[in-house]
C-alpha cells in the first residue's frame, strides 16, 4: 500500500499530490488564481524561444518561485535527441534538475513514442536529471522506465486534453503493483471525479492542465480538483468496502415487530 504522507521523489517532497500545468489559460491572471486555488506546489512549464517583444508579459512574472517548484516539459519533441536537447536547455534556464519527459509518437493522439522515450530516459538519467516520463498505461513499459532510472512513472489516463478520464484503471492498478516509484497519472483528466478515481486506485499524484485551464471557470475547477485529489487519497487510505454482487442489509432484522 502506498501510504506515505507526502509525495516524494528525486530528493524532493511535496504535500500536494496535484501537479498543474501553466498552459492554455485565458490569461496569466486567471492562471495565477487557478494555481493558488489548486494548492499545487509543482507546476509544469515549457521551454520556448523568448518573446523578443518586451511589451508582452512573461509567464515567470506570474509565478512566485518561492511558492512553486517548476517542472519543465519537453512538449513538442518527437525524438529522443530533441527531448534530450530540450531537457538540457531547460536545465540551463535553471531552477530545476527535473524534467517531465515527453516524446510524442503521433500528432493526433499525442501518445508517447515509448521506444524513443526509453532511450531519452536512459541518456538523461546518466546526466543526472530527475526524469518524470509521460507514458501510456503499459505495465511492461512502466517497469522498463523504472529500471532505466526514472524517478516517477506517469501513465496517461486518456489522450492529452481529451477529458476522457481514466480509460484503463485496471492497467494503472497493475502498474501500481509492479513498480516501486511513485505513479502519477498525467493527461486525460476532465473533471473532479476523474482525479478522485486516479487517487482511489492508489496513485501517488495526478497531473493535469487542460482539465483546469479549459474549464468554464478555471479557478473554481482548480479548487474542485484540489478537493478531489484529497478526497480520493483519503478514500484510498481509509480502505473501501469490497464490491459485491448481492446486497447486505445495513439494518438488522432483530427487533422488528410481528
Amino acid at each position: 500500500m502506498r501510504n506515505g504522507a507526502t509525495l516524494k521523489f528525486g530528493g524532493k517532497e511535496f504535500h500536494s499530490r496535484l501537479i498543474v500545468g501553466t498552459g492554455k489559460y485565458p490569461d496569466y491572471h486567471t492562471m495565477q488564481k487557478a494555481l493558488e486555488a489548486s494548492g499545487a506546489e509543482l507546476v509544469t512549464v515549457a521551454v520556448r524561444r523568448v518573446n523578443l517583444d518586451r511589451t508582452q508579459e512573461s509567464l515567470l512574472d506570474y509565478i512566485d518561485l518561492k511558492r512553486y517548484t517548476l517542472l519543465p516539459n519537453t512538449a513538442g519533441c518527437y525524438t529522443a535527441e530533441e527531448a534530450v536537447k530540450y531537457s538540457r536547455l531547460a536545465r540551463e534556464v535553471g531552477m530545476s534538475e527535473m524534467v517531465k519527459l515527453e516524446v510524442i509518437g503521433d500528432q493526433r493522439t499525442l501518445f508517447p513514442d515509448n521506444e524513443e522515450l526509453l532511450r531519452a530516459t536512459r541518456i538523461l538519467v546518466k546526466e543526472g536529471f530527475i526524469v518524470l516520463p509521460y507514458t501510456n498505461d503499459d505495465p511492461v513499459m512502466a517497469k522498463k522506465l523504472e529500471d532505466a532510472g526514472a524517478a516517477v512513472v506517469m501513465p496517461l489516463g486518456a489522450p492529452i486534453g481529451s477529458g476522457l478520464g481514466i480509460r484503463n484503471p485496471y492497467n494503472i492498478m497493475i502498474i501500481l503493483q509492479l513498480v516501486q516509484v511513485p505513479v502519477i497519472v498525467d493527461a486525460g483528466v476532465g473533471t473532479a471525479s476523474d482525479a478522485a478515481i486516479a487517487m482511489e486506485l492508489g496513485c501517488d499524484g495526478v497531473l493535469m492542465n487542460t482539465g483546469i485551464a479549459g474549464a468554464k471557470d478555471p479557478v473554481m475547477m482548480a479548487e474542485a480538483m484540489r478537493k478531489a485529489v484529497e478526497a480520493g487519497r483519503q478514500a484510498y487510505l481509509a480502505g473501501r468496502i469490497p464490491k459485491k454482487l448481492y446486497a447486505t442489509a445495513s439494518t438488522t432484522m432483530e427487533g422488528m415487530i410481528e
Partner: protein, 66 residues
C-alpha cells in the same frame, strides 16, 4: 554584422558578447538558456563568448505549457 536570432535575421554590433546582447534585448541572464550554433552556452561564459557573423542564436526561457 548579421546573426540569426530566434529564427530572424538581426543586425548587431561587431564583437558583441552574449551578455551584451541579452542586455540589449532587456533579458535577465538568470532566466534564459542560450544556444549558439547548436551548442549550449553556459551562463558563466556569457561575458566572454563573442558572437561571429552568421551565428545562429536561440534564446529560450520557460513559457506556458502543460
Amino acid at each position: 554584422m548579421q546573426i540569426r536570432l530566434n529564427g530572424k535575421v538581426r543586425e548587431v554590433a561587431e564583437g558583441i558578447t552574449v551578455r551584451r546582447l541579452l542586455d540589449e534585448l532587456g533579458l535577465h541572464p538568470m532566466r534564459v538558456a542560450v544556444q549558439r550554433n547548436l551548442d549550449i552556452i553556459k551562463r558563466e561564459r556569457y561575458e566572454e563568448v563573442v558572437l561571429q557573423p552568421g551565428d545562429t542564436l536561440e534564446v529560450l526561457t520557460f513559457m506556458a505549457g502543460g
